[in-house]
Structure formats: structure tokens, C-alpha cells
């Protein structure tokens, strides 16, 4: 029973940790499908989760985030916890009609979250 309890605790802790979550941005939902020709939407993802003490390596944390988390663990009122933010982003291409009704294809950088970490 103790083993099962510990496994559950670990699993819960893991799901609460800072990680990438799916977020599909549908251009129809935001009313942009009249000027964005392609894609109809894209998987943007978002970062959410806790940055607990001590910060694990896989959380892609910076030296500053480690120090901040350490201070937070001693006195939470002195400094807030490090934030779970995107650490690696990639580009998407968008085919759209601009204000002058010309067709434009543009590559936008930093639109898709590839990795999250504590910063």
C-alpha cells in the first residue's frame, strides 16, 4: 500500500511540474479566418506547472532560477517562485491577405512552444 501511495504521490507531483500543455489556436474561434488563408489554426502549446525546490535538470532551469527557488524555499515572502515559461520556440508560416488585399506568405518566429522550463 505504501508503494502504491508513493507511486501516486510521484505521479501527481510529475503532473503538477512545469511542462508543455496542448493548446490549439483555431483562427475561426478568434474570427481571423477571413484574412488568414492558411493554416486554419495551429498547435501553439503553453507552459504551466510548478517549479518546486530543488529544481530538476530536465526543467531546463537557469542558474538564476535555481538561486531564486533556493531563496523562495527559505523565505517565500522574500521572493516568488521561478516561473514556468517557454524556453524553446519554433516558427510557423502564415498565408494571409493584408490590409491592401494583397496575398502575403510570412514566416513568424517564436509561435510554437517546443519546450518549457523554470526561469
Amino acid at each position: 500500500n505504501r508503494r502504491v501511495h508513493k507511486r501516486k504521490q510521484r505521479k501527481n507531483k510529475g503532473s503538477e511540474e512545469c511542462r508543455r500543455h496542448p493548446l490549439y489556436v483555431d483562427f475561426k474561434d478568434v474570427g481571423w479566418n477571413d484574412w488568414i488563408v492558411a493554416p486554419p489554426g495551429y498547435q501553439a502549446y503553453y507552459c504551466k506547472g510548478k517549479c518546486p525546490f530543488p529544481l530538476a535538470d530536465h526543467l531546463n532551469s537557469t542558474n538564476h532560477a535555481i538561486v531564486q527557488t533556493l531563496v523562495n524555499s527559505v523565505d517565500p515572502s522574500a521572493v516568488p517562485q521561478a516561473c514556468c515559461v517557454p524556453t524553446d520556440l519554433s516558427a510557423i508560416s502564415m498565408l494571409y491577405i493584408d490590409e491592401k488585399e494583397k496575398v502575403v506568405l510570412k514566416n513568424y518566429q517564436e509561435m510554437v512552444v517546443e519546450g518549457c522550463g523554470c526561469r
Binding site: 490549439y24 474561434d29 477571413d34 489554426g41 516558427a91 491577405i97 514566416n107
Partner: protein
Amino acid sequence: GVTQHVPLTEDKKTQSKGTLSVSQLRAENKEAVKAFEKSLMTMFGLNSRPRPSTEIHIPQYMLDLYRQHTKEGEDIDINFNLKGKLTSTANTARSFQHQDPPDKGGGEYNTEDGSELLYFNVTNIPESEEITAAEIRLLREDIQNIESESQLSQRNKLFKKHRIDIYEIMQPATKNTVAITRLLDTRTVSFKDISWETFDVHPAVLKWRQSPSLNHGLQVRLSDHRGQPSTKIHTHLRLRRAVNTNEKSWNAKKPLLVTYSDDKKLYRERTRRGTNQQKR
């Protein structure tokens, strides 16, 4: 792969906890919504939200370019790396369809010497963007669809090859003077070839952008294998709308100008980062 649909607005559970939805926010604070939309438009490099009419034709080339650049399973490169084109630093491709020049009505082009006038309005390219390449794309149609077999074989014998010259009009012709032009690109083609032909017009587009008043258009001259103007050749180069062609079909065949540019955003960020590092 499989995409999970998660709408941008918060779900009902979250809304009941007190989070504002976009519609609620719109009703309560129009200013905030305006500011939010403005910041998004700035991010996309637009001055305002485009409100296009429903009749806009999307050129097939732009769709193909999009598909080619977003191949499944491959990472999207921030720049277009197109073979044989100076597009390695370009992250934007813009298309312009041929239109009537501002000072002339439609269908007044002089075709007596076997030439056609093409005009493209390139004034909407943002000043901050650096144009790295520009080309015009002309369609060479299958003339077998147009002419009978006997006519075709006769023409093929006489005019196996013909030349397409693209000139920039430096000064338009007047009653007393002829037009002053400069050659931008040339190509010898065969009647048998059926495809889109591209011609480099980068120098002209750079000039038009700097001084829009100097944009008098491009002149396309067609000549036969002997170098004679092809006044009598029923060329298969689609430069003007045929009588029996409907609007939709003509839009798909219209001459197209494509510019490739760099919005300099990536460069600016790198520079800013570099300067900060130096300061530190």
C-alpha cells in the same frame, strides 16, 4: 498528426470561477480589447486588422509555396531557401497581380510591335522590409487547346523558338517620342514548353519602391527565332485576358509579381542581444 482542439476562450468551469471571457471583456472594456488587438497586429506587422472582400483570388503559386514550406514532419525554416533565388534571408513573400496603370484605362496597351505592358502596384511593401528578390511569373499555355493540329504543325515549323524580353519602362512613349526602356531579363523558349516562366525584375522593383512615381510598368516583348517582333505569332504566353475566358480562369492565369523580403525583425533581435552582451 492529431491535433487536439482547445478553444482560445476559457472553458465554462474556469469562467464560472470568475475569469472573464473575450466577449465579456469586450462588453466591459472596449479600450482594453482594442489595445490587445493592436498589440497582436503589431506582432504580425500589420497596421490594422485586414478586412478583405470575399472575391480575392489566392494565386496558386502562393499556395504551392506555402505547402512546400510547411511540409509535414519538417521543421519550418524562418527563411525561404528557394533554389536559384536570393531568398536565404527572406521571411516574407508578397504577390501582386497585374493591374491597369493609374494614368491609363484598361485595354489601351500598344501591341502593334508585339509588346505588352504590365503594371504592378508595389506601394504597400513596408519601408522597414528589405527586398532580396523579385520576379514576374508568366504562364505559357498549351496552344494545342487553342489551335487546330494543322495550324499548330505549321506554326511549329516556322517558329520553333521565340524570345521573351522583359523591359522596364524608364520613360513612357509620347506622341512625338518613343518609350525609353532598359532590358531586365530575357529568355528563349519553345512552343512545346508549358509552364510558368519566371523573370528577374529585382532592380525595377527596388526603384519603384523608392520612387513610386517612376513606376511606369514593364514591357514584355516577344520576337521570333529571327529576332523579328512577333506581331503575327499567336503566342501561347498568357499576357492578357482572352475573350472567352471568365474572370475566375483569368485570375488563375494573370501575370504575377512576387517579391521576397526580410522584415529585419530577426536581425534586430540578434543585434539587441549582442549589444546587451557587450555592455555586460
